[in-house]
């Protein structure tokens, strides 16, 4: 339903940073009431363009028109005032506040000088019903799963009166059912007359939800307003990266008979005594990748933390290469060769303010080449960081820059390189390719394949079901802390896996057991 006046029209947007042109002559037209997808690899200039549209940066050249009127944003507040809202990839919510408090934060309705919580609650209920967002305003955000948090973010933006919603890679953190739900929400938003700008590099999703697609590559638009009915995902991928889309797949089996990790009847309880990991038994052999599929918040994080010794197991045993490590501290486990790619790289994987070489030491600060006895071996750590940067293609001008200065994909490659160092025997990889671009994703898959061939045992947790199916030798499904099914990655489809994860179809599990 294209209108005469587009909701947003960007004309010849150019943005230069010292020595770089981040955006060059980008034109983008978004019609009212459509879901418009913007595709491009990380670093292609999507974020810069969105920051310009959201008032976080000013373009050097070019104009922005909203509803046919030329505007100039100095701050995001200006953009919000013109009805533009953004849902960031990394949620910006305060854990210890309720949904209601998070939503109204900074835009509190007042009555006689006091915050009118009742009016706000009423409004949130109405909006959440109208858009099918299913959010209870009075629960604490820390108790919510990823999908719920995202809905809170969307609600927050809508609450401020947004007419144009920018969603930055909203599906990166969701499972298929949640993605479907999100897309359902987006359609409802569209039906209510809102415009959605959807940033993604997952092409199937883009094709299924978007009304129009624009692609940018290397800072310039290579295609605008494509019709999703007339384009294949293959063609889109070529537009995006100039090459074909990599697929997660394993070639020949490298599984051996040696059991590297044997988890028996592991149970982890919450402080209230509720089991979050419930009687989990699991074996990983050398040269085997064991995938764990599950909707986020079903005990995966707790299981990983128990395996790493960050959280203590309440009952059950963890045996690692013959040793009972159930009561070992984290450091001893790491020293014994358990590598860990955490799910949240900013909170658990890196010290953002630290230099790259300091981050290379993280988690390995008792091992060579980083230390000699109680002393830090700067030379050794720095040399090895340089090696990782080169071997894992971490794009950085040097190893003294802080980790915060790298893009997400490069941060992740540094973490993967670090964890693959020192000949680990077990790798616990949580979402190793979350939110990173296609090239880096293919690279990380290749590293996993190589390490597996060299005899590494891997526990792979991912929300990307294609990755799970393609990269696993064995695949378990976890639901409410229990392993409910074991499926054959050779035959299962993402849809079947998705229903097993939600507990809807016990058929997928039963078929294989």
């Amino acid at each position: 339903m294209p209108d005469e006046v587009p909701a947003v029209r960007l004309t010849s947007i150019t943005k230069r940073f010292p020595g770089v042109v981040a955006n060059r002559d980008i034109d983008l037209t978004i019609n009212k009431g459509e879901v418009h997808a913007l595709c491009g690899e990380n670093g292609a200039g999507k974020s810069t363009l969105m920051k310009i549209l959201y008032g976080m940066q000013k373009p050097d050249e070019g104009t922005i028109e909203i509803d046919g009127q030329e505007v100039s944003f100095k701050t995001p507040a200006d953009a919000i005032a013109r009805g533009i809202g953004m849902v960031h990839q990394h949620f910006k919510l305060a854990d210890n506040l309720t949904v209601l408090e998070n939503v109204i934060l900074g835009a509190e309705p007042k009555r006689r000088g006091r915050i009118d919580f009742d009016a706000a609650r009423e409004k949130i209920r109405e909006m959440s019903a109208a858009y099918g967002l299913r959010v209870d305003p009075d629960v604490l955000v820390e108790t919510l799963g990823v999908g719920d948090r995202q809905r809170v973010e969307i609600l927050k933006v809508l609450y401020r009166g947004a007419k144009v919603l920018i969603l930055d890679e909203p599906t990166a953190v969701l499972v298929p059912q949640e993605v479907d739900e999100l897309f359902g929400n987006l359609r409802e938003l569209k039906a209510e007359g809102l415009t959605v700008l959807f940033i993604s590099h997952k092409l199937d999703e883009v094709l299924s939800v978007a009304d129009a697609i624009s692609v940018i590559r290397r800072g310039t638009s290579v295609a605008t307003c494509l019709d999703p009915r007339e384009i294949t995902s293959r063609r889109l991928a070529e537009l995006m990266v100039g090459s074909e889309l990599p697929t997660p797949e394993l070639r020949e089996s490298t599984v051996t008979e040696d059991v590297q990790l044997d988890v028996a009847k592991l149970t982890v309880l919450t402080p209230e005594g509720r089991p979050v990991v419930d009687d989990v038994s699991l074996r990983i052999r050398r040269g085997e990748i064991v995938g764990l599929a599950g909707v986020e918040g079903n005990g995966q994080s707790e299981l990983i933390e128990a395996l790493m010794g960050i959280r203590s197991a309440d009952t059950g045993t963890i045996t690692y290469g013959g040793d009972d490590i159930t009561h070992w501290p984290t450091r001893k486990r790491r020293e014994a060769g358990i590598a860990y790619i955490p799910e949240d790289r900013h909170r658990h994987g890196l010290v953002l303010e630290g230099a790259l070489w300091e981050n290379r030491m993280l988690g390995h600060q008792t091992q060579r080449p980083n230390v000699r006895g109680p002393w830090i071996d700067r030379g050794g750590a720095r040399r090895d960081t340089t090696r990782i940067v080169q071997a894992y293609d971490v794009r950085t001008p040097g190893i003294d820059v802080p980790a915060a200065a790298l893009s997400g994909g490069n941060q992740q490659k540094l973490i993967v390189g670090r964890e693959m160092s020192g000949e680990p025997r077990l790798l616990i990889a949580a979402h190793p390719t979350r939110g990173i671009d296609v090239g880096a994703q293919a690279a990380i898959w290749e590293y996993l394949r190589q390490a597996r061939a060299a005899g590494l045992a891997v526990l792979l947790i991912s929300a990307d079901l294609e990755e799970l199916i393609g990269m696993s030798d064995t695949l378990h499904v976890i639901l409410r802390g229990r392993l409910v099914a074991r499926v054959d990655p050779g035959t299962v489809t993402p849809e079947e896996l998705g229903s097993a994860m939600t507990g809807a179809g016990s058929d997928a599990g039963a078929a294989d057991e």
């Binding site: 200039g45 960050i310 501290p329 486990r333 293609d393 794009r395 915060a404």
Partner: protein
């Protein structure tokens, strides 16, 4: 589907600027010569001090004084020989106190209880020292070790409460301060550990015997800053600076760092060092009239140990990481509970040292007149010095200077309390300026990284 790429080099260069531009040579030299980090590290405090000086002068103006002449008289008075002795002694106390606080700050642990820790430690150690007579080095060592133990144990209470019961260390240390005050008041009594000084209302512990005291540092200062020792220091210091600067530039053979720049930078640094030592510090520190604390070198050693531990040891790394990101520290295998207790004990042990220079070098007893409140000054000094051993030294000297010269303000009809305001202004300005500069630097770095990558300056590609 397609074969996965063998080499992961398919990702396009971020934010593509068409033809790769070369980094001009002069820029590369500049980058080696004066990395942004260094410029900012020197520039930020200077900027902050200039701003706070301006604010202070405005304040003086508002109170009706002549700002220029007030500050002039502070400087005149502060640079007299006898003032310098007092400033050095004050700065020694402030320095130790600030290091004790900074150890906790480094891992985001707020030890507000340094005050109670040092007073209790000094008091009990004084009582111990007064009760025993041991031959020369042992008496002093015993008192110092006892003070460190007591300070460490008193601080450990807060650490253990935090890890076992989840009590905030801010609350527990504040309460422990009050308890320490009570304990000292109870024990500092002629029926218990102290005696009343005849002819006054003062109550004090027994005097530490001659053999247990530490003599003044003046003699050592005189010999250090004259004759052959000075030459040795100048030559060795200059050589070390040049070598370290060179090493730093060629470390790990990373591209883009020029050894020549390292040498040039080193020579400049060495020249500054020689000039400052021989022409400024030397003349000031020789032939001082009063007694400089004999334990002043102990403060220097504590600073060096702090610096070495933070930068060159595993423990220091764990400490830093715990401060910057507790979650990442935990995932990397740092035991948060252990770190909290150890850090509190270390902080308390250094706090125990705060009273030692005064106790062993000047008062020889703990009395009602023993300097109090140093723990709180330490918090502001640590903030001002950015928890860095060298920064804290400068901050301690500045605070000591301000405190010492506050008296002279009364002579020019300015209330001496204005100095407290000045100290507040300095700390606030520094904290704010540093934070702004830090944010700006992160943005700058992100931008430079993108820029350097786009212009082909890429470590990953460089050596492939």
């Amino acid at each position: 589907m397609s074969e996965p790429q063998e080499t992961p080099k398919t990702a396009p260069a971020p934010a593509g600027g068409g033809s790769p531009e070369h980094v001009p040579a002069w820029q590369a030299i500049l980058r080696g010569l004066g990395p942004r980090g260094w410029a900012l590290r020197l520039g930020a405090p200077v900027l902050a001090l200039v701003i706070s000086l301006v604010i202070t002068m405005i304040l003086l103006r508002v109170t009706g004084a002549d700002p220029v002449s007030s500050i002039q008289s502070m400087i005149d008075y502060g640079t007299t020989d006898s003032s310098i002795v007092d400033i050095l002694n004050r700065a020694t106390r402030y320095y130790l106190s600030a290091v004790a606080v900074a150890i906790g700050f480094r891992m985001a642990l707020l030890n507000i209880g340094v005050d109670g820790q040092y007073r209790l430690a000094a008091f009990l150690a004084a009582a111990l020292g007064g009760a025993l007579t041991l031959p020369a080095p042992f008496g002093q060592m015993l008192v110092i070790v006892a003070a460190m133990l007591i300070g460490g144990l008193w601080a450990a209470i807060a650490g253990i409460l935090k890890v076992t019961r989840g009590v905030s260390e801010v609350l527990s240390t504040i309460m422990l301060n009050a308890i320490a005050t009570g304990v000292i008041a109870y024990l500092l009594n002629d029926k218990r550990l102290a005696e009343v000084r005849p002819g006054s209302n003062n109550v004090a512990t027994a005097q530490i015997p001659e053999s247990g005291r530490v003599g003044p540092f003046n003699g050592a200062l005189n010999s250090i800053f004259s004759g052959p020792v000075l030459w040795v220091i100048l030559v060795a210091g200059a050589a070390a600076i040049v070598y370290l600067s060179y090493r730093k530039q060629v470390a790990a053979g990373e591209p883009g760092k020029s050894p020549v720049a390292g040498l040039v930078l080193g020579v400049i640094g060495a020249a500054v060092f020689v000039a400052v030592t021989a022409l400024v510090v030397g003349p000031i520190l020789t032939d001082l009239p009063g007694e400089v604390y004999g334990l002043l070198p102990m403060a220097v050693v504590v600073g060096i140990v702090f610096w070495v531990v933070i930068n060159f040891t595993r423990f220091g790394f764990d400490l830093k990481v715990s401060g910057l990101s507790p979650t990442a520290a935990q995932a990397s295998g740092v035991s948060a509970k252990r770190m909290v207790v150890i850090t509190m004990i270390a902080s308390g042990a250094v706090a125990g040292l705060i009273g030692m220079p005064e106790l062993l070098g000047a008062s020889y007893e703990y009395s009602l007149n023993f300097p109090a409140g140093l723990g709180f000054t330490g918090i502001t000094v640590a903030l001002l010095g950015r928890n860095h051993p060298f920064g804290i030294a400068l901050a301690a000297l500045l605070f000591a200077f301000l405190d010492q010269t506050s008296d002279v303000l009364q002579e020019v009809d300015v209330p001496k309390e204005i100095v407290g305001v000045m100290q507040g202004v300095v700390v606030l300005t520094v904290v704010i300026v540093y934070e702004l500069v830090r944010r700006w630097e992160i943005r700058l770095q992100q931008r430079t990284v993108a820029a350097e990558l786009a212009t082909g300056h890429d470590l990953a590609k460089g050596a492939a």
